[in-house]
Symmetry: C2
Subunit: 212 residues, 2 copies
Amino acid sequence: MNYNDRKVPEVVIKRLPRYYRYLGELLKQDIHRISSNALSEKMKVTASQIRQDFNYFGGFGQQGYGYNVEYLHNEIGTILGLKEGYKTIIVGAGYLGHALATHEGFERRGFHLCAIFDNSPDKIGKEINGRAVRDVSEMEKYVKDNGIEIAILTLPRANVEETAEKLADWGIQGFWNFSYAELKLKKDVAVENVHLSDSLMTLAYKIKQGND
Amino acid sequence: MNYNDRKVPEVVIKRLPRYYRYLGELLKQDIHRISSNALSEKMKVTASQIRQDFNYFGGFGQQGYGYNVEYLHNEIGTILGLKEGYKTIIVGAGYLGHALATHEGFERRGFHLCAIFDNSPDKIGKEINGRAVRDVSEMEKYVKDNGIEIAILTLPRANVEETAEKLADWGIQGFWNFSYAELKLKKDVAVENVHLSDSLMTLAYKIKQGND
């Protein structure tokens, strides 16, 4: 099936990881079938929304049966491209780089951390989670030799654009950017800008609603 | 105006921080007026979606004039409850706690970091960004005495629920949870669970689309 026949709105794409996570949790609980109503309640998305979302990918439900959880989980994983074992590096071995290098969920989802780079002599050579921090001067050769696909950027905002442009030239296909900058690159590569404060603002709103 | 007259869907709420960020960037660039079409293009949300979203809060646009950026920025800030200067603590002084304690954007948006707690003797007493890490055994008194409102949870998954239940009893109104657990508490307090891997999965999808 070609999932690209219809343009999938970004808001639907944004929901897929959440579906994927929830379905994974259901599997852990040994739940193998779920109605769109039950899924709706769990996900806090309307049942009709769920049906609409899944229809973009050909739909997976059967009338009167509900959804096959494992099938749905696998399909969404495939749609998200999660089975490909992405080769990943982290650029910036500060506290956030450290935290991400030891994040338990990434390897499990198929993102393999190959190396960590920094430009600070204080950090180069130190070990993080069994990997020595490498000098950024070796990064070009490393990325090219090892066919690295994803760069996680946790370096200071001032350096991120220049570094990302170079990495894109060396073959990086996607950037997971934590550098508080909205990264826009010359090359047409995938970028996911993480804005942690968006989620903090959402929390503020929820607190305010609770107090009203 | 009472913004609570109509129930605002979570998907709309989720967009408000992004609107707030973009409008803040426009202000920095000295742009004070913007059409819904131009805003739409910048935000990658349809113009009619933007109008619908803003209508939940009484609408802010004027036909033929567009939106007043500063007014809109302030209003959305108020809706999000951003002007109240939330008193915040971080629980867990690991790498992620460290990274969040030094995040440049939080204080600016009115989230004041009052203290950092940990239970490890290795960490207690050490300074992070000018604040000594305190012993969790002092947390109850500190939270109550200082009227702490928000707890940022970066402690291990195994301990997070028990700790959060206690914090809620001591008066915490909102949790920003980074502990990979979907926190569900007995008390009706605000919770924002951060799932970093959702954003990484979105990146995987974007890469896949680019390669097709």
